[in-house]
């Protein structure tokens, strides 16, 4: 068994695998992340049967928290398996903060949250803004602190899908990219290492100042959202709201009451950036 350790924001992981190549890929991409001695979660990428380590290698994702019936992946998609395994530990296990499926960036000590379905563009937008004067905080999970309502960074490797891959190659040609994984269950996937300062400042939270629900592929429009609609959407964007009970209720309630929220529709990154800057300046 080969293994590696890394820390993303407040959470630390041990990833083990019978395949050295998966661990090598992870070590290369997570090279600039802290290496914790103690870990919160273990994820293992095993062969589904002993002989399937060699014959049509097929990766089963296991860990402290598991979903039954998770489909195995071919070895060439092993890095995606690691990403899914790590996500699952956070989604099912993490309780220190409220977890929202949202990307986040920071400027002047205040954070911008973007939530939405997969395909809304929240992840791509955060990656782009991270190269346009904002500090990238996370592309997938925003951790909301129960005590002060701050957004805590979770700057894992950015997981780019389909057209976002080309978009980011133009935006950040010198960034470090992982291997291109074609035709995964989520489409084509390629990871990109976040900007260095995102990793360096990954323990530095920021008070949320603006929450957006982006909608990619529609004519430009900005619509203010009512707190009840925002609350409803965020309960479904949260992996642990129900499990956190009253603590989670209070944390989400304050976020919804305190942070102005808009839905923005846009056709491309430049259009979205202009809307975001406009809303940011109006704060």
């Amino acid at each position: 068994m080969h293994e590696t350790h890394f820390k993303v924001g407040p959470a630390s992981f041990r990833v083990g695998s019978v395949w050295k190549e998966i661990i090598d890929q992870i070590e290369m991409l997570y090279a600039s992340y802290p290496k914790p001695k103690l870990t919160d979660y273990t994820v293992t990428l095993d062969a589904i049967r002993p002989w399937r380590r060699f014959v049509r290698p097929s990766v089963a994702i296991n860990g402290d928290f598991m979903l039954p019936d998770a489909a195995p992946l071919p070895l060439s998609h092993g890095l995606l398996g690691a990403e899914m395994g790590v996500n699952l530990q956070m989604a099912l296990g993490w309780r220190r903060q409220l977890i929202l499926h949202a990307s986040s960036v920071e400027k002047d000590g205040k954070s911008l949250l973007m939530s939405g379905e997969s395909g809304s563009g929240k992840s791509t937008l955060s990656a782009i803004l991270g190269h346009r004067g904002w500090r990238f905080m996370g592309d997938e999970f925003a951790l909301i602190d129960h005590d002060n309502g701050f957004v805590m960074p979770y700057p894992r490797l950015i997981s780019l899908k389909n057209q976002a891959i080309e978009t980011l190659k133009k935006e950040a040609p010198h960034a470090q990219f992982g291997p291109l994984m074609k035709d995964t269950p989520k489409g084509d996937i390629q990871h990109i290492v976040p900007p260095a300062q995102a990793i360096r400042k990954m323990e530095q939270g920021a008070k949320p100042a603006l929450l957006l629900f982006p909608n990619y592929g529609y004519d430009a429009e900005i619509r203010e959202m009512l707190p009840s609609e925002v609350f409803m959407r965020l309960t479904q964007a949260s992996a642990n709201f129900v499990g956190l009970g009253e603590t989670g209720f209070n944390t989400l309630k304050h976020l919804v009451l305190d942070v102005p929220t808009f839905e923005i529709a846009y056709q491309n990154g430049d259009e979205a950036e202009a809307m975001i800057n406009q809303l940011w300046e109006q704060l």
């Binding site: 707190p227 009840s228 409803m232 709201f241 129900v242 009970g245 009253e246 009451l257």
Partner: protein, 99 residues
């Protein structure tokens, strides 16, 4: 129609107004409900007491200008209040005291 209703464990409920909807968190079950008008106002009118829908209607009429939202809807306010209370009963938030 003469049944009375009472909220269960009022001290375990947190009611938070947002806009035309409110949040209702039930500490006992750990469940959050998002409730629309007039449900939050009915809960406030009831407080710790047991009341008939007609009593609740009288309290609400003192506090609010009551409007039927849907034209052509012939439900009486009392019937609507009873329907909302029955929803609370079904969710385990209230109890019906049969007369």
């Amino acid at each position: 129609m003469a049944n009375r209703y009472k909220m269960r464990n009022v001290s375990n409920l947190i009611l938070q107004h947002l806009d035309y909807m409110s949040l209702l968190y039930d500490r006992q079950s750990g469940i959050t409900h998002i409730i629309a008008e007039p449900a939050p106002q009915i809960i406030e009118a009831l407080g710790h007491d047991a009341m008939k829908p007609s009593q609740i209607e009288r309290i609400l009429k003192k506090q609010y200008d009551i409007q039927a939202f849907e034209d052509g809807n012939s439900d009486s306010f009392e019937e609507i209040i009873a329907a909302r209370l029955d929803e609370f009963v079904a969710l385990g938030l209230a109890e019906k005291i049969l007369s």
